[in-house]
């Protein structure tokens, strides 16, 4: 017993100062992860006052009902892991609703200690709470704290440790006669073999007909019928359903208890927070203020760099990282050093062009992301994020999304990775998964060159192509949202419908900086490993291949005249369909060889040629690679003194247009448009996929999201190409029929009636 590690759970309502208290109690000894199988974040830490004690931060919850994921996670932990004590943080300015959770926690048979937060604010308002009496009535010790200032935090921790060692909490509240009568019966017939201190919780849950508890106890049908009779009797007598009876009586109990304890003086006055909110969510001003806030978030993090007359610190630092740190130091610098050491050229290529170029690309995003996350954490911490959901809810809930989905979508127009990560502020798991799945449909900054290339090469630089790209992105999100919310996969969880609008307060800088860093670091770690590996793979695929029966680096093999004979060049030229003087080492790379057969997949979309196929595949590393690869494949040589390839590749526009027209049978524009649609909507780059995996916290959901994106992109491009040819001539009857069938299925899914689910299906 002596060296058993004590475990304390920190429980409390959202917005009660729980995160602040957790940070104050554990300092830097934290481990952040996820609760198994779900996207709810799990934090643990060792107490500063006693390093032997582990504190687990439960999700912020209002109740222990079985209906929201956070509540299920929290109660599973409390019931199954049985921590030695619960430290319950209670917001004194919001006592009634906070104590509602407390009445449930005290029934679990685990010692409870209350940390009464924000007492200073209550006193400042002229109110008074008789803490001693409250403690006596609730049957558990109470420590007054100010989590923000750190007052009483140490005492609360010590009290919790003391309770964990030899405390006992017996629920003091009782329900009305009929309910207690039923509870006594239920206890007797079902749970008398469980430890005494847990019997009451189980009895209450059985009374509430809590499906998850009923299931876990595996009661016989006979017993179930027996207790059902008891429940029915109480329901009849009190004229309400069992669950509501319990909820109601808890609040009645709290109300009566507080009558003698909570003395209110300053009634009816508007607090500072109320005054702010009158302006910020004012019917007329709310939307303009919202637009300004969003504009500032965007402009500061990803807008025009301060070096170019904008205000963005993020872009400025990112440009610097990309050009100087990533480009010059890492890539070129490492190459110079490695060559100086006479390292084998293939190894130099791998390290400099493969790994360092890849890492550099990831590092480049970090400053923008840190600035962005900093602002999102600020919005979250000061209370504005909840107002965004309040303002935008009406629009987004139609698409199965949340009002808070707006931020991920906006951010994704800059970069999909932070867009996906910004979905973390959405409480409801279904909305969050939906947002993660659809966010990367927004055309991100790296997709802009693709749009530029297509618009320039085939549409004479027409601006409607770029405009249509945004339109397609938004439409894809809306269509997907409406369709997916009707599928079984997403129908499971009920949507949120009641949300607290917490009081505004000055941000706690410790929380904000910690939150920013946690997100930034998790990006560097996860996306970093993904992109390094994928960079190596793609580098390998483009650099190696088999030339005339010999396997090796294609560049080296092409130097060897005995391998690359004139007859062999003729064979390659024939295979690739190019003149002999345009045959390149890359034509023999594994990528080109693989892309050739893979291009069959894109035949029905109009661009089944190896070049667009190879570009699409390499686009998975980073979307910028698409145009860069077009540059290589359409023989733009940047080594013979010409200027570098423009971002939108305007030097190769003629060749691209010619080629697209050639392999599409004269429908180059249509094929190019289908190519653009596919590349805009299909799976994002590997780094964004890494972010999706991190946020989904489930291989199954990650595969679903990426699979869905690819299928959706394919179907959209297919419909455009097949239907387009009806008008452009060269119609394919089979293709047209298939396209019409797909379109019909899509419309059916879009317009079929839909009813919101009422039950949570997760375990």
């Amino acid at each position: 017993m002596e060296n058993k590690q004590l475990r304390i759970a920190l429980a409390g309502n959202p917005n009660s100062g729980k995160t602040t208290l957790f940070n104050k109690l554990t300092g830097s000894n934290q481990f952040v992860g996820n609760w198994p199988g779900v996207t709810v974040e799990k934090k643990e830490g060792k107490l500063i006052v006693d390093k032997e004690v582990v504190l687990t931060d439960l999700p912020g919850i209002y109740s222990l009902s079985p209906y929201t994921l956070e509540e299920v996670v929290a109660r599973n932990y409390l019931i199954e892991e049985k921590p030695d004590a619960i430290l319950n943080i209670v917001d004194a300015t919001n006592l009634e609703r906070n104590l509602y959770l407390t009445t449930q926690l005290t029934e679990l048979g685990i010692p409870v200690v209350i940390a009464l937060n924000m007492m200073d604010l209550v006193k400042k308002a002229g109110d008074n709470i008789n803490v001693k009496e409250l403690s006596r009535q609730l049957g558990c010790p109470i420590v007054e704290i100010s989590a923000l200032k750190g007052d009483g935090v140490k005492e609360a921790a010590l009290a919790a440790i003391e309770a964990a060692k030899n405390g006992k909490t017996i629920p003091q509240h009782s329900f009305s006669g009929p309910v207690e009568h039923a509870l006594a019966h239920i206890e007797e017939v079902t749970v008398h073999n469980l430890p005494e201190e847990r019997q009451r919780w189980y009895a209450i849950k059985l009374f509430e007909r809590d499906e998850k508890v009923v299931e876990s106890l595996a009661l016989s049908d006979e017993i179930k019928a027996h207790i059902e009779k008891d429940i029915r009797a109480a329901e009849k007598e009190l004229d309400d359903d069992a669950e509501s009876i319990i909820t109601n009586e808890r609040y009645i109990y709290i109300g009566q208890m507080l009558k003698g304890i909570y003395k209110k003086k300053g009634k009816g006055q508007l607090s500072a927070s109320d005054k702010i909110d009158r302006i910020v969510t004012n019917r007329i001003l709310a939307l303009p203020i919202f637009v300004v806030v969003m504009f500032l978030v965007y402009a500061l993090s990803m807008g025009t760099s301060i070096a170019d007359g904008g205000v963005s610190i993020g872009t400025f630092l990112t440009d610097w990282t990309n050009d100087v740190l990533g480009g010059a130091w890492l890539t070129d610098g490492s190459r110079a050093i490695l060559e100086g050491w006479n390292v084998a050229p293939w190894l130099v290529g791998l390290i400099s062009d493969g790994i360092f170029a890849g890492v550099g690309a990831v590092l480049g995003f970090v400053p923008q992301m840190l600035v962005l996350f900093l602002m999102l954490c600020l919005l979250e911490d000061c209370g504005y994020m909840a107002r965004i959901a309040f303002i935008m809810d009406r629009i987004f809930r139609r698409f199965g999304l949340s009002g808070k989905s707006f931020i991920p979508m906006l951010v994704a127009t800059g970069c999909g990775i932070p867009g996906v990560m910004a979905s973390r502020t959405i409480e409801n798991e279904r909305d969050r998964r939906m947002t993660i799945t659809t966010t990367t449909f927004m055309p991100c900054g790296a997709k802009m060159p693709i749009i530029g290339l297509i618009a320039g090469a085939l549409f004479g630089g027409s601006t409607w192509v770029a405009t249509s790209a945004y339109f397609i992105g938004v439409a894809a999100i809306i269509i997907s949202g409406v369709m997916l919310k009707k599928t079984k996969r997403f129908a499971g969880d009920p949507a949120p419908f009641v949300m607290e609008l917490p009081a505004y307060h000055l941000p706690a800088w410790g929380n904000v900086l910690r939150g920013t860093w946690e997100r930034g670091w998790s990006f560097i770690k996860r996306a970093g490993t993904v992109i390094v590996i994928s960079s190596i793979v793609i580098w390998f695929l483009t650099s190696f291949g088999s030339v005339n029966g010999k396997f090796g680096m294609v560049d080296d093999l092409y130097e060897d005249e005995t391998v690359v004979t004139d007859e062999y060049v003729a064979v390659v030229a024939d295979r690739m369909g190019v003149p002999e003087d345009e045959v390149e080492p890359m034509d023999d790379s594994i990528l080109a060889r693989v892309a050739q057969p893979v291009s069959v997949v894109f035949k029905p979309l109009g661009f089944g040629d190896w070049k667009p196929t190879a570009a699409t595949v390499t686009g998975l590393v980073a979307k910028e690679e698409v145009v860069a690869n077009f540059g290589i494949m359409y023989a733009y040589d940047d080594n013979d003194g010409e200027e570098e390839l423009e971002e939108n590749g305007d030097q190769i526009w003629d060749r691209v247009a010619e080629d697209f027209n050639a392999f599409s049978g004269g429908h180059g524009k249509l094929a190019a448009f289908a190519f653009m649609i596919f590349n805009l909507l299909c799976a994002p780059c590997f780094a964004a996929m890494g972010a999706i995996k991190r946020e989904m916290n489930s291989a199954r959901w990650t595969l679903f999201a990426i699979g869905y994106q690819c299928c959706f992109a394919w179907v959209m491009a297919f419909i455009v190409w097949q239907l387009g040819r009806v008008f452009a001539g060269g119609m394919n009857v089979v293709g047209l029929i298939l396209a019409l069938v797909m379109l019909a299925l899509l419309l059916w899914q879009l317009f079929k009636p839909y009813k919101e689910a009422q039950k949570l299906t997760v375990k």
């Binding site: 209002y62 109740s63 009902s65 209906y67 929201t68 300015t93 919001n94 009634e96 609703r97 509602y100 359903d241 669950e243 509501s244 909820t247 109601n248 609040y251 009645i252 909110d277 969510t281 004012n282 019917r283 007329i284 709310a286 939307l287 909840a386 959901a389 309040f390 303002i391 809810d393 009406r394 629009i395 809930r397 009920p494 419908f497 009641v498 949300m499 607290e500 609008l501 917490p502 009081a503 009422q758 039950k759 949570l760």
Partner: protein, 73 residues
């Protein structure tokens, strides 16, 4: 029967009964909207839905579709 949906901005109403069942009803009650409690309708969102109410001394936003389940007087 009057519901919270029909209550006007600036009005204080008293909850008489909650209709419906399951997760939605439980969540509304968990948030403190129970029989007999006073609810002050603070404002309407800029796009007309949801509404913001003050209950048990804190601010709560609730969709009109759900407010319809709450009978008030």
């Amino acid at each position: 029967m009057k519901t919270l949906r029909e209550a006007k901005v600036g009005e204080t109403v008293k909850v008489v009964k909650l209709h419906g069942e399951g997760a939605v009803k439980r969540r509304i009650m968990d948030m403190g909207i129970t029989k007999g409690v006073e609810v002050f309708v603070r404002k309407l969102a800029p796009l007309g839905d949801p509404i913001e109410v003050n209950v048990r001394n804190y601010e709560l936003s609730i969709r009109k579709a759900d407010a319809e389940m709450i009978e008030v007087e």
